[in-house]
Symmetry: C2
Subunit: 235 residues, 2 copies
DNA sequence: AAAACATACTTGTACGTACAAGTTATTTGA
DNA sequence: TCAAATAACTTGTACGTACAAGTATGTTTT
């Protein structure tokens, strides 16, 4: 395998948390326990737990242990993996514009690189709903040259980021975001069911990937009245 | 000293970046160079660089090195230390309500602990401006019992968080945030100079500290038209 | 009964070593 | 001349060790 050991243990513990085997407030196995369970050194066990801490699943307290934190109900900002796994199962997605080659829009909040500007981009637009409530209007753009065959084949498991990972081995390494509260225009007002010029939250994101030349640009417009955006941050 | 070695090196490199000794795109000393410069092991050097990466100052690329990232112009969300150091020097702060003992407000987005509810809180309200533009209305609440003498003495270096650190040895360990786009009420409209019921961004934060019983609650209401809120995230 | 101490846990810091794997520049060979 | 191999860097993973420091639970002492 080329997946590192610490990451396997991290993922294994993560799914146990997500499945409820470890509930909020529960102690994960201590570093030394993980060592003997998995036959690893403390360095590796620590790395796995530190990653879970970065992701906000656990809190680590000196002298006590690694404790499962309360999970957020609201959509996760900064959770790199999109939001289908963050919010639950009653989420549906409608394509307003299927993926296609289109020119870059003007006035994007992040500067494009020269090589990006030279050719058109792939773009698609989706509307995300939770139950009956439209919650988020999502636009995605990226260079049309980097992902051959993307337009021909569909998404893996309906997830854009999983498709990137499985078909193209592209992993998200980070993101820059810009947040603005804006009045909804006619289209947004209609789609998100907010009153005209009612406040919506616009999140402009530039995702950086393991390919340093390849970026993904997203614009999310959110109706935060029912579903506020949440996030966590831990040292 | 009880400040760990890696943190000293981290802070030393951070201030060099902030002062411009290392510009955007520059390479920081490699792990092995840091080892010989400071007489430390690679474990310690790595820890310092990993922390800088978490804070968003550098990017670390296998085979290449640790490279200084572009700095954001906009206010840093998630930058634990408040924003006086993030945005520059032309920032001024006006107290609308000086720190005083007041009852907890109702309808706070985060649940209070039992011990917090039992006694009133310390609260203050500030208006932050950049140049001539009012940018952020800030309210802070925290338990009145934990910080003896807080109301009698002023802030250290005009910074709330520096006061917590220097006088009370309280360090911020993390935060939970909730973001909402809202219509401005009369007060907000007047103070932030946005039109009535114009969109503003409300950020509700619960800071966790090294004292597991002590939380700081903040509510920021931002005029994001001129100064959007930005943040970064890196694995 | 209450305080002090001891013990056995936990995570945090720091040392040292080894090899894997990506990047870049140089050298070698056809 | 050009391509392949090499060397010299970089960060990533993983091993092992040691001690510091915080927490909890006893046990002893007062």
């Amino acid at each position: 395998m080329d997946i590192p050991r610490y990451r396997k243990i991290q993922n294994m513990l993560k799914s146990k948390i997500q499945q409820g085997s470890y509930g909020v407030g529960d102690h994960l196995p201590s570093e030394n326990q993980l060592c003997s369970i998995f036959n690893i050194t403390r360095t590796t066990a620590r790395k796995a737990l530190e990653e879970l801490q970065k992701e906000g699943f656990i809190e680590r307290i000196k002298g006590k242990g690694s404790i499962v934190r309360e999970r957020r109900k609201s959509l996760g900002l900064l959770n790199v993996k999109g939001f289908s796994e963050a919010v639950g199962r009653n989420v549906s997605t409608i394509f307003l514009q299927e993926p296609a080659l289109r020119p870059w829009i003007t006035g994007f909040p992040f500067p494009l690189t020269d090589s990006e500007r030279q050719s058109p981009c792939i773009h698609f637009e989706r509307l995300r709903t939770v139950g009956e409530d439209p919650v988020m209007l999502e636009n995605n753009w990226f260079s049309g040259k980097t992902l051959p065959g993307f337009l021909q084949s569909g998404f893996e498991e309906d997830s854009f980021f999983k498709t990137l990972s499985k078909k193209y081995m592209i992993e998200i390494k980070g993101s820059e975001q810009e947040l603005k509260a804006l009045p909804a225009n006619e289209k947004v007002s209609r789609l998100l069911k907010v009153k005209p010029s009612g406040p919506v939250l616009q999140i402009s994101i530039r995702f950086t990937t393991c390919n340093p030349e390849f970026f993904i640009y997203s614009e999310l417009i959110c109706n935060t009245m029912k579903y506020p955006i949440g996030n966590r941050y831990f040292l």
